[in-house]
Structures are given as structure tokens and as C-alpha cells.
Symmetry: C2
Subunit: 667 residues, 2 copies
Amino acid sequence: MKINSKYAQGMAALALLVSMNACKPKDAGSVVSGDAASKVYVAPGKYDEYYNFVSGGFSGQLSVYGLPSGRLLRVIPVFSVDPEKGWGYSEETKPMLNTSHGNVPWDDLHHVSMSQTNGEIDGRWVFANGNNTPRVARIDLGTFRTAEILELPNSGGNHSSPFITENSEYIVAGTRFSIPPDDKNGDVPINTYKENFKGTISFVSVDKDNGNMDVAFQLQGPGVNFDLSHAGKGKSNGWFFFSTYNTEQANTLLEVNASKRDKDFIMAVNWKLAEKLIKEGKGRKQKTKYASNRFDESTHTATSTIKTEVTVLDMKDHPGLVYMIPCPKSPHGCDVDPTGEYIVGSGKLAALIPVFSFDKIQKAIADKAFDGEYDGIPVIKYEAALYGEVKKPGLGPLHTEFDDKGNAYTSMFVSSEVVKWNVKDLKVLDRVPTYYSVGHLMIPGGDSKKPTGKYLVAYNKITKDRYLPTGPELSQSAQLYDISGDKMQLLLDFPTIGEPHYAQGVAASVIKDRSVKFFKIEENKHPYVAKGEKESKVFREGNKVHVNLTMMRSHLTPDNIEGIKVGDEVYFHTTNLEQDWDVPHGFAIKGALNSELLVMPGETTTLKWVPLKAGMYPMYCTDFCSALHQEMSGYVRVSPAGSNVPISFSTGTNMPKSDAAVPGTKK
Amino acid sequence: MKINSKYAQGMAALALLVSMNACKPKDAGSVVSGDAASKVYVAPGKYDEYYNFVSGGFSGQLSVYGLPSGRLLRVIPVFSVDPEKGWGYSEETKPMLNTSHGNVPWDDLHHVSMSQTNGEIDGRWVFANGNNTPRVARIDLGTFRTAEILELPNSGGNHSSPFITENSEYIVAGTRFSIPPDDKNGDVPINTYKENFKGTISFVSVDKDNGNMDVAFQLQGPGVNFDLSHAGKGKSNGWFFFSTYNTEQANTLLEVNASKRDKDFIMAVNWKLAEKLIKEGKGRKQKTKYASNRFDESTHTATSTIKTEVTVLDMKDHPGLVYMIPCPKSPHGCDVDPTGEYIVGSGKLAALIPVFSFDKIQKAIADKAFDGEYDGIPVIKYEAALYGEVKKPGLGPLHTEFDDKGNAYTSMFVSSEVVKWNVKDLKVLDRVPTYYSVGHLMIPGGDSKKPTGKYLVAYNKITKDRYLPTGPELSQSAQLYDISGDKMQLLLDFPTIGEPHYAQGVAASVIKDRSVKFFKIEENKHPYVAKGEKESKVFREGNKVHVNLTMMRSHLTPDNIEGIKVGDEVYFHTTNLEQDWDVPHGFAIKGALNSELLVMPGETTTLKWVPLKAGMYPMYCTDFCSALHQEMSGYVRVSPAGSNVPISFSTGTNMPKSDAAVPGTKK
């Protein structure tokens, strides 16, 4: 293995710095002032001030926390199956995880974007990216459920996603790993990367009424790695900015080979021009396959559709569409300030933070202040685009959020700290340590045109000695800071589900009154709904047996079922007849090679069960629902294949035919 | 449907009581005194005082919380798959979820028992029950991982489980739903319950050195529902007590038909006699099938063994083995005080709490103070066993825990409160409201011979307005109380994962220094381990391709793999070469119909992948590990079936053969 020796030295220095983190004083109590306890305490029955939507990273899910308490309010299953909720197991939700590869039970959710209207968070949806098998998801903030998942063609890792425009016209998705496009032969030697691999950016349209997503168009360009991105806003609305790395186009040992260049690029995309080109028919139709999965709330059922075509613009063919801006040392974060004028690039191996000016970029374009081309794309001169550099901010800047007072907060991975600086004069104002190796930051609204200025959360990558140990795997960690004063104050450590990457937050008032409390049973259009116990039934269609079953405190209807045979496919279509908040029922049957169902009031959900042995199978309600929950159960009798036992079903009437006495207590 | 009208009235009254809970003042702030914030605040970097192991209910998992902060330290996957950790997806963990029915991806974990030595929690293991497809699990408190899962034959719902004896000789498992025994024909009419269904109690032995579990013997008796249980301790060590319901032996609409009798039973089992009978060969061998799944830490791999026989004692055939004690109104909790003298029965529809005396029970047995038999089992006279009744404690007593001062704390489901009473004089000392519908309670050590007296946690079944809303499904809720004074003080509400049932807790000092930090690579006996990058390789065996891959900050070895063909079964055996705490790596590949792997330092874990299409597949590390984590990636080339591309693999050497230039920035 051949390693650039200068680079190796740099890495050794970085490694030393990283290891130095572990030498920080273990006792952070001293940096916490006396009022921290009361600042984070939310008394029983009181509400948190903010919702915090936190990516679950390799869990594939989205976590909802309350701030300032740091309490986990809900884990919303998105890209990964969740046997607790039947997500990916019920017949209704299986289509949500369909892809062109088949049913994928897991993904890696890195970033979230809340929907915006006029650059402000509107509380309608949260979008999230799936990084491994490239997808984007839309979560409905009325139901707190995933409403849609869209696969992305021509992509190999969807990382710079799902960042959003200021009126939610588009979310974007930039491929992290370039690959040969789907309509080319991908069976090529890996070391033909430079010839055969392409980098693709997807613009996913969002229907302004119902949120439905489609791949509006894709931009195809050089094979590089796209890392992060953000939309312009205000004056820069109409543009999108993406960070890139591996502009060396290495295909192996990227740790060394993708870190050779002093500068990679921020890529600026004029998406309004792209829209215009598409309207003018300048797009190229490309054959591919990708899944579009949507959940219909009236039938409580998802449908997966495989789409076969996408419209592509080749970056280098359309002058004015795409520009490259040099950015030092493997850019990672790419953030835009609330005014839209300042674009912050964060070279993760850098010791300074370059801040670019939108006005200067426009002038550079007009002046053709270019420094050559990269694969046919004009490269704007660094100085022509640069507003200025934040000097000595720390080591390894990653991500920047903004407050309501013109300040920026940048996470420093290598030196493990948050650095506050003024956007106008680029002076460092304050710095606080994080424990350890901070990744993303979040200020509620800190990515919008209207940031708040009370709390900042740092999402950390290493936990070490922050909590009681739990074996080789430790919880990930978030840290809450008070940023209302001149100096940042550490308030609280709280653990997170999975690995937190980007998160967003919003005042509770924007969302809490939108919450759907239950589904109206009279609006339930599920084909196998039973809208009352009298509609419950069991019927056979060949080897398929449908059980239209109702659940109501505290019995199943029917609760005695006979006539099922080995080899049957049994579908329990369970309807929760309750019409009140917080009264879910659950459903499970012994030995099923399946999860449970968790059924909300008014909803119908289906469990498929293929019994493999004759015998007696208990079924029951899994979600404690009343003082007589333990009694909410029943039996299914399974007879051998070819048996003559007829279908029968009942609740409360299948009494013993023989008058077998209950054992008495007298002898 | 025919419903007992008197009963229906009673239920209506209960329903009214339940609905009244919703009228409680929403603002609980007034009941929280000023110092609560400081009492629950654990400053960043400080440790919690207690570990709290909380059942995840229908999540199937075990949650680890810190107290008093209520912070979620870890979710340990037990009975349900966890795509985040690869649990149930990696080749090594798939056998853990095997059963006689096949691979079951979910269960319903209700209760936990921590291992004990001399009646005190010793910090070695936590046991847990699977309620749906009857199983018990053992979780190792060095690794915080599930080390063993044992299926239970002759069972239909394993609810009164896994309660433990004072030296961890046995954990028990009582069937919640009686069924025809496994060696009988289970294909019988459901309404032949009284003739054909049996209730089975399993005694599972625990090896005192390595914790390995086996079904030592089972007791078979009348078809009833076993609910909860606890071992005797001290003077009553050698006995086990189980609550029963549905002694009516109803087979349908249990809500009505299993609540007809004024009293069901607490069943007292002399397990030392059972042991003696088994030793004397009095057990009956019964054919059955059940899975015994054990994880081997040296190979990092689980093995599932199907066992085919179990030893059974029929309850009524062995005088002195089992007695019934009448207990009012559908007994639920069955708890034994720290001295072992008092057995508390909690009739969930009752308005009093009967407390039985072990000494009186023994005397009643000696005196034959019986009130007839139940299916051949002597029924001890209620008064002969009764120590006394706690009068007017509230409505719907469920579960009781004990403190270090001779007090008992009982949860009241219907009246939503915790009631403190003195064990000796049975006087009610204090009561505090819970929000809402409390189930189990937990005091660290509160189930052992050495309870503590500082905190009590109530695990609630309904959340309603306790937190910011999250759509139709709300988080479950726990509430922390200070019980160190005469009056209980509500300190904190915190949400829980899944539905909490029973929980246990112990002082942090008992566990925290046992934590395994990483696995020693030199002790790794996995057959496909690569103990260094030089040992990494890719080799073909027919259509199986093995990739012995290493992970080390920040590259995969190999990271370029060619020669894979459509239809191959590819096994990525990934070894994490790190030897430091908190440096896991993850592994994923695009389009795999599988989860990720999360690989701890020194461990080898295997992902199976069957590529379905030719093309280029990125793979990468999913767990942020360094500043160059984003670079820790590679490509696998998949060629069509029948292709001649040979197997090749490398990291850092597969450079372009053509001298294709990287796009320059000059033109």
C-alpha cells in the first residue's frame, strides 16, 4: 500500500488530536452552572417547548425528542422494519419498503428537512434520506407516520439529501458514491471509475397540497462524491449548493486517495434554470427502475409502483446550470445563512472556515472569473467567490447552524467543540467543548429564514464515559446548550436512538394542534374492514382464509375460530373499533413467523399467518387496554391439510357441548 | 351474545372509574415540589445512581435506563429483530430467534428478573420472558447482549415468567393460555377446553457458572390461565407462588366468562419436593419439540438446538406438591415480601388486598385445613392462609414492591394511584396519583431480600396529555417518585420504549465495573475471522463467495472486489480490528435484502447478500468512526451469471490501467 507520506503525517497529527479528546477532564460538572437543572426540567404533565426531529442514522428511523427535557417522545419507523409497530410486517406496510431490488428491511437515515413555507418551518412534513439503498421519505406530522418512500435511480448512496427549498418545491438527493448510470453496463472494472462512473443529483418535487413526491429531473455530471447540500434562500432562492469530495476520482482507499487535493468543490446549481430547461424539453429520457411507495390514509394501505423512466440533464451540456467553487480540505457541511447571502463551506480536514458570498458568486459568473473547468463545468476563482475566512476556529469544521442574532455556530469534529462566530465580521465570539467528536448541530429553525436563539443541540459520535457503561456498545449522545446569552452554557447530556446525524426542531405550537388523535371508523375504506362486531367474519377463498376481526375493550370478535388447515394463508384483518385517543389494540398469534400488529383506533391492519402444524393457537391483544386486557384473547384451531372441519367463528357462544363441569372446590 | 347482567353493571362502574381518570387535573406541576428538578438532574458527565432494566412489552426488547435521570442508555434486542444492530439478520444471530415454528422475528417481553445470590441482585444476568411464542431469554450484563433464548414446550403464552429463586437455581414460566399438551392431538374443538386443555408450569434451571438454561421439569395441571408469580425467599425459599385466573375454564369471551367466580387461586408449589420427585425418577418423559439457542462469545456465533423431550410431573399425582389458595377477583400480581413470610395477592377487580402468611399456609397444610379440591389439588381455606386484608387501598390492585423499612407499595390500575402500606399492620400510610392507569411498580431490589428505599418507578399504560402529542400513538410513560420520606413525592415523568411491564433496578456499582469494553481479537475463534488486514481474502466455494473483510479506521480491506456473479451467495465476514472502547464499525451494501451489521471491536459478524442484478454496488462503514469515516467505503462489481470475471480483491492497489487523467481545473 502506497501512502502519500506528507498526508500520512497530517493524518498522524489528526489522530493525535483525536486521541487527545479522551484526555479531557471526565468531570464536566464543573462547567455546568447551578441553574442548568431547572432550565431543562419539564415538570410531570407540562409540555416541552420544542419538538426535535432527530435522524436515527444506522437505525433507519426518525426519533422525536422534546426540548429542553431531552425526552424521547416517539421513534417513527421509516426505512427499517419495526416489529413493535408491525412496520414492514403488516400487509398494508410491506409495500413501503419495496425497491427495485425487492423488499429492503433497513436503511441508514442521515438527514431531515422539515417542510417550509416562505422559508419558515410550516409543520406539515418531515423529509428524510435513506443513504444505503438510495431513497427519500416523507413523514406526515399529523399522524407522525411515514407516508411515502421514493427510491432514487442512478444513485449509489444518497447522502446530500433531503435538503429543501424555501417553499418546499423540491428536496434534493445527491449520490454519495458515483456509479455507472442505470442504463449503462455497470459490470465494468472498478478502476474504470474515471470513464464510467457518474455523479447524479436528483430534484424531487413535492406536491404542495398532498406532499406527494416524484423525481422531477436529475443532473448528471462527473464521478465525484456528493456530501451535503443546502438550498439558497431569500436572494439566493433558485440556487442549490452541494459539497463534493473525492474530486480526485479515486476508486480505492479513499482515506488516502480522496484527500490528496488541497481543495475540492462546492457545486452551485441554478435549479430555476434547470426547471426551465426541463419545461423546454431539453431533458434526456433515461430508462431505469425505481419504486414509488405511497400510503393511502383512507384505505390504511400502501401501494408500491415501479417507475421506469427519468429525465436527465447533463451538467456540462447546459451553460449557466452548474458552477464549481473551490473549497479547502474535503468539504463536508455546506450551509446557507438566513439571509441567503452567505454560504459556509466546512472542510473537515481544515483549520479555517471559508464563507462565500452569493453576490460575489453572481458577479464572478457575470465576469467569467473562472479558473478553468472541471469535467466541462466552469470553476469559479476561490477569491472571486469568497466573502472571507473564519480564522482559527478550531480543527475539523463540519456543520453550521444560525441563530436569530446574526451568529453562526460551527461544529468542530477534531477539536470537539462548538464555535460561535459572527456572520458579518467572521470573528470568533465563543467556544464550548463537546464530549466527544461532535457531528451535526441543531438550532430550532437554524436552517430556515427565521432561526430561534434559545437552544442549540450538538449530536456527538462517541460517548465514552458520559453515561453508565452498557458493554462494548455505548449509546450515542446529544448535548443541549443554552445560547440565549453571549456565552454558550452546557445544560444537559441526553442519549439518542441509533446514530444522530442532522436534526431539526420547531416550536411545539407549530405542530401540536395538528395531531390526528384517531382515525374515523366511518371513513375507513379498507377492503376488509369490519365497522362493527356484527360485520366480523371468517371466509375461505381457496387456500386463503380472511378473518375480518374487530377489537374493542376487552374482546376479539371472533375469539373462537375453527376450520383453518395446515397450508392455508390466513389473513387477520384487524379493525380497532375504539374511537378515542390513546386506545390502540395489538394483535399476535403464537408461532407466527411475523411481528405483532399495533392497530390505532379506527384503523384496519392485516397480519399474514401460515400455520405449519395442526394444533391450538392462542391469539391475544398485545397492548394493555383495560383492567380486563389479560382476558382479551382467543383460540384458533388448526386442522391437518385435507381435514373436513368447516369454517366456524364466534365470540361468547361456542360453549361446551358436553356439560363438562368446571372443577369445583368441594369434594 | 349473552352477558351476565350483574357483571355487566360492575364493568360499567369500572369503565366509569376509568373514564374519571381522564378528568384529573392536567397540570401536575402543582403536585411537584420545588426540589424535584435538582433531584432528577444528572449533570453532563456524571453517572446515574441506578440501572433500571425495563421490559419493552410489545417491542420484544429490554430497555436500560439510568435513574434518577430517566435517560435511555440502551435498547437490548432480545426477542425481536433489530435491523439497527443486525440482530436476527447477521448469520451469527439468526439462530437466536429460531423456534420449533421456524424463525420468529418478534415477541412480547413482559417481565424481567435479575439473577440473585442469597436473595440479593448479583449483577450477572437479566432474564426475560417472551409471551407470544413461549420463550425465556438470558441477557449477559457484561456485554449487555442476549446470550441465550430457550423455547418452552406445552405452553401457549408465557406470562408468569421469568421469576427467579433466591440463588438463581430456577426461573419459572407459567403458561398464560392453557392448550392441549404437545404430545396430544391439539386439533380438537375449542369448546372441549375442560377435557383437553392443560396448564403447564416450567422450571428452567440456570447453570450457576455460565448461566445456561434448560427445561429441568414441568408441572402439568388443570386448564387455567397463569398470570404472575414469585419465588418464596428466606423462610419460604423452596416454594413458588403463582396467580391464576379463568379457573372458570371458559374458552370464549373471557372478559365476561373468566370473571364470574368471586375467587380464583394463588397456586403454591413446593419446588424442592418437585426436585426430589424428579431425582427419584417420578417424572414422566413427554415427546415435544423446542429450541435451545445459545450464543458462544468465543466464536461470536449462536447455535440453535431442537430438543425433543421434557420431563413432566402431573400436579394431582403428587401429594404435597401443589396447593391452591383462594384469592378474590381475578388475581394478577403475586408478590412476596423481603422476609418471605407474606404473600400479597392482587385481585385486579378487587377493592382490598389479601396478604397471606407463609407460616399459616404451612400450618393449614399440616392441619389439612382444606376446602375441597380443584381438579385434584387441595384448596386451602382462605382464612386459614390469610394473614389479613389491606382495607380500602383503592381500586384494581395489580402489583406490589417493597422497601427497606417494612413497607409495601401497590399499584392501583383502576383508581390510578400508588398506595403505600405497612406490611405488618396492613395500614395504608400514603397514596399518590399516577397518570394514568399504572401497571407494574419497581423499587431497586424491591423484589429481593434487600430492597432499597430511595426511588419507586410506576410504569403506566396510558399517556394521554403527559407529553407533546405524536399522532394517534402516544409514548408509554413511567413516573419516578421519591420514597425516602414518609410521603411519596412525584419527581419526573419519562417515556419508555414499547410498553413497560415489570422492571428491576440495582445500584450502578453492582454492574458498571463488569462491563466488557471490547472483544480481544486474539481470542476470536470465528471460523472466518481475519485477525489482520493481511488475512483478509475473498474466495469461492461453488456459488458461495466468502469475503473475510477487515475494518479499521478508516478503510475496508478489501475495498475493491470483482468476480461476484448474479446468483452467488456472498458472505461478508466482517472483523472489526479496533481494540478500544466505543469504536464500533458498521457495514452495509446497496440493495441488500438485509439489515446492516454493527460490529464491535474484536468481533466478526457476517452479512449474507444475494445480488440479483449485474452492476456496481457501493459498500461502506455505517457507524461514524473518524474524520475520514465518509471515505471508509468500497465497491463490489457484480457480473452476470456465467461471466468469466475472476475473483479479485484489494485495497489501495487497483489503480486505473489506462492513465485516465483526473479532470483538471485548468483548460
